[in-house]
Amino acid sequence: MIIIFAVFLLTLLVITAIGIVRAENLFVAVMLTSIFSLIMAANFFILDAADVALTEAAIGAGVTTVIFLGALSLTAEREKKVDVSRGLAICVVVATALVLIYATFDKPRLGDPEAPVHQHVAPWYLSETETLIGIPNVVTAVLGSYRAYDTLGEVFVVLAACIGVLFLFSARREKKNDNTLNSLTSPKSIGLQHHFIPRVVGRILLPFIILFGLYVQFHGEYGPGGGFQAGAILATGIILFALLEGEQRALAAIPSRALLWMVAGGAMLYSLVGVVGLLLGGNFLDYSVLSTDPVFGQQIGIILIELGVGITVCGALLSIFHAFAARENY
């Protein structure tokens, strides 16, 4: 039964991908990208990767769509016509596709327990997590503790990406002050305030979104979720607030200076947990020394670093959103 769903979703995925490539209206392409992410999330979900599905749905279908739309409002809506022959490009794509398809013949069957990837360290993770860390969600244990270095790297990638975007977008900061006077009535500052229905519904939904974000953040050890997903969901909620009530009110709630502190502070919190572990006599990012009981120490460490991840991701996404929104006045 699952295989029918999977084939159906993958077919939809291919159709959507072709639609994205063929769409000349960029607005249509952005909407199709969002649909693509949503189908992808459903696909991850039926493959039992609930953590990845959550991330894909929140970031791929939610936040990136808003950021793409922000980018579109800065540029043109239609794709620029290019009269270059596409023969060479098509040849390269077809050749790559053939090589990739050939490579899949070597792949083990989907879900094959004898596959090398399931024979390497996975059995050890599955059998030892209960005694070493004592949390049911092995994915969180792998991300937060066994592979803490990788996750630290990812957090710093998010930090670096945020710094890069802010560098690009704050190049003409000084002009902004001229526009703040007449911006009180601009769409940027009033948002959708004259649209009664979306405002009321958004106001009803917002507490639930924030609550769900916090749930995903602090329940990551027991169910699917964790810092990345929670940060994205919280950012989506605040972006919804900004779209409904106007960017100024969102900035008044969380000023951009605070967002920068969040981005850097989350990454700092993560590394600090590692350094504290070092000072207490363990290895970098070894949480067992954080408490007298190693298992409890692991749990403290995972909760702290997940908090750091969530704060950084939320701050970075919001900073990038505000950077795009602030440009619209030019």
Binding site: H195, I197, V201
Partner: protein, 111 residues
């Protein structure tokens, strides 16, 4: 006996929900202009989801799954009409005028 009645009600709801989704899909493809197509699509959002989720809730019985489905139903009933409203208002604001009966009649005469 009771179980059979619930089963029958749930299957009626599921089937009619499927019927509404189908009608909505056909309408979204076949109706003449944007607003009528949107009207057809919003049938899928409201009636379709309500009946299908209702049928599934009856199948689930008094379990945690039923409460989760109820929450999903509540959120969908709030958000889908809002999305339809936002879409229609965006279309109006961007200058797409709904066709009135007079305009349709004129079009018929011109042909």
């Amino acid at each position: 006996m009771m179980e059979q009645i619930i089963d029958i009600i749930s299957w009626i709801m599921l089937t009619s929900g499927g019927f509404f989704v189908l009608i909505g899909g056909i309408g979204a493809l076949r109706l003449p202009n944007f607003y009528t197509r949107m009207h057809a699509a919003s049938v899928t959002d409201t009636m379709g989801t309500f009946l299908i989720l209702g049928g599934v809730i009856l199948q689930a019985g008094f379990t945690l799954a039923a409460i989760k489905l109820l929450a999903i139903l509540a959120f969908l009933l709030l958000t889908s009409p809002t999305a339809s409203y936002a879409l229609a208002s965006a279309a109006i604001l961007s200058g797409l005028k709904p066709e009135t009966k007079a305009m349709l009649d004129e079009g018929a005469k011109a042909q």
